[in-house]
Symmetry: C2
């Protein structure tokens, strides 16, 4: 911890005066009181980003889905479960943030009618049928809101893909209308301590080769600060 | 840890010479490479049972679904993901165990055809349709196998219910054909450090009131030892 403090002390304060909002981890969509749909996101990348932003001098709030990680020191943490919970937590915070980094792996769909009691397999002998409703797109909602449109909230998206990283990341950059989109390969990063990132913006792309997530997070924070300075 | 060792040292060795197999935690059934279905089981009850069995002098093997807990000292641990993985790990171990305590919250169903690539919401605009296949009943398979039938493997089931605990636990006792079934209320126990148990056997039921999971686990181990001594 002393070492962490020393590192933070000597980190250039690229983000001094900024309010950084980070979403992290998976979401959990209930099927019934005990079962649910989640994903393999461990939250490690988002927690590393929150830490790197704090080291760079920002005020940082981290909105996290269900993960077993400790919050980085000096970071405000809010725990949520479902995609809707996460949206509800983020919307008011985005109004007083200057940077939003959406690392969370948010469920695209929720179960349309979660059961109030545990679904029993003894009943009909039939497996349950699950139907889904689409969740609100958190990143697009915030990135296309008035604050981001007015240039007062710099939005960064993450894309976890299983193939065609550059193609999918470019498509997501346009679809979400964010100035910076960070692609990574989901099965290669989820739960891992290392990752590799592909930063995609209107100009092109920058590959950050495989490294510890904290190292990548610090580079990403510098890239964000540089882009904001150019605006 | 010194305190733990002292407690273990002074615990009566009710299970000396026994080989105890414990399953714990949730299972994870893949929907695609990044998404899956799980449940709110934290594994805490199963890890406490494994520790209590070890304190009571048994050789203990713990087969755990994805949880962030450290294995109790002196306990062999095997990590698994899906219900099928858990069955595959447990079957050979059950052949050399004398007690099997099935605390895991095993998925009743798996996704019939998991997608090889991440399911995209941009495709058809339609939510995905999930169809399910029933998983093999791990407890019933082991409890109705030749070793258990010959009286060489004492099987204990857990039932996590959301209502009608006694009724559901009694039905499960008969259906699984185990000598002891432990009921608890899923939403009250999952993720918690405390729990309350209802031990159900052919004679009747015994309620263990709300207490730390380790305290309950130690009582359960004594109850199992007493039942085996009476056999």
């Amino acid at each position: 911890q002393l070492l962490d403090d020393l590192i933070a002390f000597f980190t250039p304060k690229h983000l001094a005066g900024q309010h950084v909002l980070v979403s992290a981890g998976p979401t959990y969509e209930a099927i019934d009181p005990v079962r649910g749909i989640t994903n393999l996101s461990s939250g490690k990348m988002g927690f590393a980003v929150a830490r790197a932003a704090r080291e760079a001098g920002a005020e940082v709030t981290l909105v996290a889905g269900p993960v077993g990680l400790a919050a980085p020191r000096g970071v405000n943490r809010i725990d949520v479960k479902s995609a809707q919970d996460m949206l509800d937590a983020l919307l008011p915070l985005a109004e007083r943030s200057t940077i939003f980094i959406a690392t969370a792996a948010v469920a695209d769909w929720r179960v349309a009618s979660p059961a109030a009691q545990k679904i029993k397999k003894e009943g009909s002998g039939q497996p349950p049928q699950l139907s889904f409703s689409e969740n609100t797109d958190i990143l697009a909602t915030i990135a296309q809101g008035p604050r981001a449109k007015a240039g007062r909230l710099f939005c960064v998206g993450f894309a976890a893909e299983s193939e065609d990283l550059l193609l999918n990341a470019k498509a997501k950059l346009l679809r979400k209308q964010v100035p910076l989109l960070v692609g990574n390969i989901g099965p290669d990063t989820f739960g891992q301590d290392h990752n590799a990132l592909l930063l995609v913006d209107a100009e092109g792309s920058l590959a950050l080769p495989r490294a510890p997530k904290l190292v990548l997070a610090r580079t990403l924070i510098r890239e964000i600060a540089a882009r904001m300075a150019r605006q």
